[in-house]
Amino acid sequence: MKILKNLLKSPFFVIGMGLFLGTILLALFAPLFYHIDIHSRVGAAYMNPGGKYLLGTDHMGIDMFSLLLEGLRSSLYVGFMAGIIATVIGTSLGVYAGFKGGWVDDFITMVTNLFIVIPQFVILILVSASMKEGRSLSLIAFLIGLTGWTWSARAVRAQAASLKSRDHISLAKVNGVKTVGILLLHILPYLMSYVFMVFIMQTASGILSEASISMIGLGPFDTVSLGTILNQAMRSEALTDGAWWAFIPAMILVTIISFALYLINTSMEGVFNPRLRK
C-alpha cells in the first residue's frame, strides 16, 4: 500500500498508468460502442477521414477505425501473452540459477548469454518464414515469449544471487525447507516488485517485436495487428498517396503503449531505488 502511495506521487507513474489503462479500456470496451468490421469494403480506397468513417478507409476500402481498434486489441493481446510467457520463463530460470549457484548457475547463465547474443529477431524470422499457413496471432505471441526471456533471466538471477546469503534463507535451509519452497516462499516475495517491472518491460518489447516482425511481412494471417496495418500501408503506397491516416494512427498507438510502459517502469525504478529519486 505504501508503495502504491509513493508511486501515485510520481507524475511519470500517473501519466504512464493513465495512458496504459486508457488503451486497455479502449481495446476492451470499444466493441460495445462501435461496430468493428474489418472484412467488408465500405467505400473507395483511401477515403479521407471525417465524414461517415472517422479515420477514412484503407487501400481496400475497409473502415480504418475498425482496423485500428482490432489492431490495438491484437497488439495488446500479443504483448500480454508474450510478456507472461517470457516473465515466467525468465524469472524461474533466473531465480533458480541465482539461488542454486555452482554448475547449474554456470550452465543456465551460459545458455542465457548465448541467446542474448543471438538476435531474437533472427530466430523469429527463421521460424516464421517456415510457417506459412499456420501463423496465427497466438503462435506469434508464443514465439516472442519463448525467445524474449533472456535478459529478464539475467536480471532476476543477479537479484536472486544477492538474496541467497540472507539469514532467513539459511534458517529455512536449516529447517529442511525444499528448494522449491525456499524459492517460492522466501525469495520470490522479495522480488515481486522487480518481477512486475520485468513483466512491464517484457510486455513492451513483446508489442514492439510483434510490430517489427509483422512489418517485414511475417505477421499473423488470421487477424490484423498494429504491425500488419503498418505493413499494409507501406506495401500499398499509403506514403506516396499521402494517406497519413493509414499509418500515423497505428504508429501513435504503438508509441503510446510502449511509452506508457516505459514511464511505469522508470517511475517504479525511482521508487524502489531511492538513490534515483533525489
Binding site: 548469454n113 548465448l114 542474448i116 547474443v117 543471438i118 538476435p119 531474437q120 529477431f121 533472427v122 530466430i123 524470422i125 527463421l126 521460424v127 518464414a129 517456415s130 510457417m131 506459412k132 499457413e133 499456420g134 535478459w151 513492451a204 514492439l208 510490430a211 517489427s212 512489418m215 517485414i216 511481412g217 511475417l218 503498418l230 500501408a233 507501406m234 506514403l239 506516396t240 499521402g242 497519413w244 499509418f247 500515423i248 504508429m251 504503438v254 508509441t255 510502449s258 511509452f259 510502459l261 516505459y262 514511464l263 522508470t266 525504478e269 531505488n273 538513490r275 534515483l276 533525489k278
Partner: protein, 355 residues
C-alpha cells in the same frame, strides 16, 4: 601461463566463448527453418518429386538439394531417387555436418530468385551499405546518447525535465515507424530529401565526387531515423547510471575536496561508462534488427532490403544466409565491445574479471 596476463586471458576466454556461440548459431540456423510445416526442405522435396515443374525450376531445386547436401548422391553426382521419383534424403545428422562444412567454407548456397547467383555474391553487394549505415549510426548514437544522459543527470532541473521525457519518448517509437514518419514529412510533404534508395538512380556506384555526394544526400534520413531513437535509449540508461554514481561516496569526497567541476564530471562519466558499454554489448542485436527494418523502409540497398525481397520471394537459401551473416556480425560486434571492456575495465587488468 595465461593467468599472468589477465587481459590476454580474458580476451582468449571470450574468444572461446564466442566460438561456442557461433556453433550454436549455426545449429539454430540449420534446425529452426525445419520446424515449421511449410519448411523449405519438405516443400522442395515434394516439388522435385512431382515432376510438374518447369525445367529451370527443377534445376534450381536440384541445385538446392545438392548444394546444401540434403540428399544422397550417385557416383556421377546425380540425385538418388526412389521408385516414385522422390529424392532420397540424407540422415539429418549428415545434413547438419554438410551444412557446417559449407558455412565454414564460406559457401551459403545458391539463391532461388536470382538463380544461378550465389548467396554470398548477393550478400557481398549489400554488406557495404549496411555497414556504412549502421556502424556510424550505432556508435554516434551511443556516444551522443551517453553525453546527453550524463548532462541530464548532472544538471537536473529544467534540462533534465526536457531531455529525459523526450529521450524516453524517442526510445518508445519503433524504428520503422519513425522512419516512415520521416519519409512522409521530409521526403514526400516537403521534398527535402529522397524517400527511397541509397543513391540517385541514374548513377553507378563509383568513387566519384558525384556518386559520393549523392550517397551522402540519401544517407541523411535513414541515419536520423536510427540515430535519434538509439540516442534516446542510451540517454535514459546513462542518466540513471550517472545519478547513481553522483550519490556515491567518492563523488561526495571529491566535492568536499573542492575539485573542479569538470574533473568530477569526468570521474562520474568514466565510471558510469563501463556498465553502459556492457549494455551496448547486450543490445547490439536488437539495434541491428531495428536498423535492418529501417533499411527496408528506405529501400536502402543493404542487407535489410535483400532480406525483405528474400522473404517475399520465399528465397530460403538467401534468408538463411542473411540470418547467419547477421548473427555472425552481431557476434563480432559483441566481441569487439568485450575486447574494449577488457582494456578499459581495471577489474579485468587486476584479474578479478567482470561478469
Amino acid at each position: 601461463m595465461l593467468k599472468r596476463y589477465p587481459t590476454l586471458y580474458y580476451i582468449s576466454s571470450r574468444a572461446v566463448w564466442y566460438f561456442i556461440t557461433f556453433l550454436a548459431a549455426v545449429t539454430i540456423n540449420f534446425l529452426l527453418p525445419r520446424l515449421g510445416p511449410a519448411n523449405p526442405v519438405d516443400i522442395i522435396m515434394a516439388r522435385s518429386a512431382s515432376g510438374l515443374d518447369t525445367k529451370t525450376a527443377m534445376e534450381k531445386e536440384e541445385a538446392y538439394l545438392k548444394g546444401f547436401g540434403l540428399v544422397e548422391l550417385n557416383k556421377d553426382g546425380s540425385i538418388v531417387r526412389d521408385a516414385s521419383g522422390k529424392p532420397v534424403q540424407s540422415p539429418l545428422i549428415k545434413q547438419f555436418f554438410n551444412y557446417v562444412k559449407m558455412c565454414l567454407k564460406g559457401d551459403l548456397g545458391t539463391s532461388f530468385l536470382n538463380y544461378p547467383k550465389k548467396v554470398t555474391e548477393i550478400i557481398a553487394g549489400a554488406i557495404p551499405w549496411t555497414l556504412a549505415l549502421q556502424i556510424p549510426t550505432i556508435i554516434l548514437g551511443w556516444i551522443f546518447g551517453n553525453i546527453l544522459g550524463a548532462l541530464a543527470a548532472y544538471k537536473r532541473g529544467v534540462f533534465d525535465g526536457v531531455i529525459f521525457p523526450s529521450a524516453l519518448l524517442a526510445n518508445s517509437v519503433p524504428f520503422f515507424a519513425f522512419g516512415m514518419l520521416l519519409v512522409y514529412i521530409f521526403a514526400l510533404q516537403f521534398n527535402l530529401f529522397p524517400a527511397i534508395g541509397g543513391y540517385a538512380q541514374d548513377l553507378m556506384p563509383a568513387f566519384s565526387w558525384e556518386f559520393l555526394s549523392s550517397a551522402a544526400y540519401y544517407y541523411v534520413l535513414p541515419f536520423f531515423s536510427i540515430f535519434l531513437i538509439l540516442a534516446g535509449g542510451q540517454a535514459t540508461g546513462m542518466r540513471s547510471m550517472c545519478i547513481y554514481e553522483l550519490g556515491t561516496d567518492y563523488i561526495k569526497y571529491a566535492k568536499w575536496l573542492g575539485m573542479k567541476e569538470h574533473k568530477i564530471v569526468f570521474y562520474m562519466f568514466r565510471n558510469a561508462m563501463l556498465p553502459q558499454l556492457t549494455g551496448l554489448a547486450l543490445s547490439i542485436g536488437t539495434m541491428v534488427g531495428g536498423a535492418l527494418i529501417t533499411e527496408m523502409i528506405f529501400s536502402y540497398p543493404g542487407l535489410g532490403m535483400s532480406m525483405l525481397t528474400a522473404i517475399q520471394g520465399n528465397d530460403y537459401p538467401l534468408i538463411q544466409g542473411i540470418t547467419l551473416l547477421i548473427t555472425v556480425s552481431v557476434l563480432i560486434a559483441n566481441f569487439s565491445v568485450d575486447i574494449l571492456i577488457g582494456f578499459l575495465d581495471p577489474r579485468v587488468k587486476a584479474g578479478i574479471g567482470s561478469k
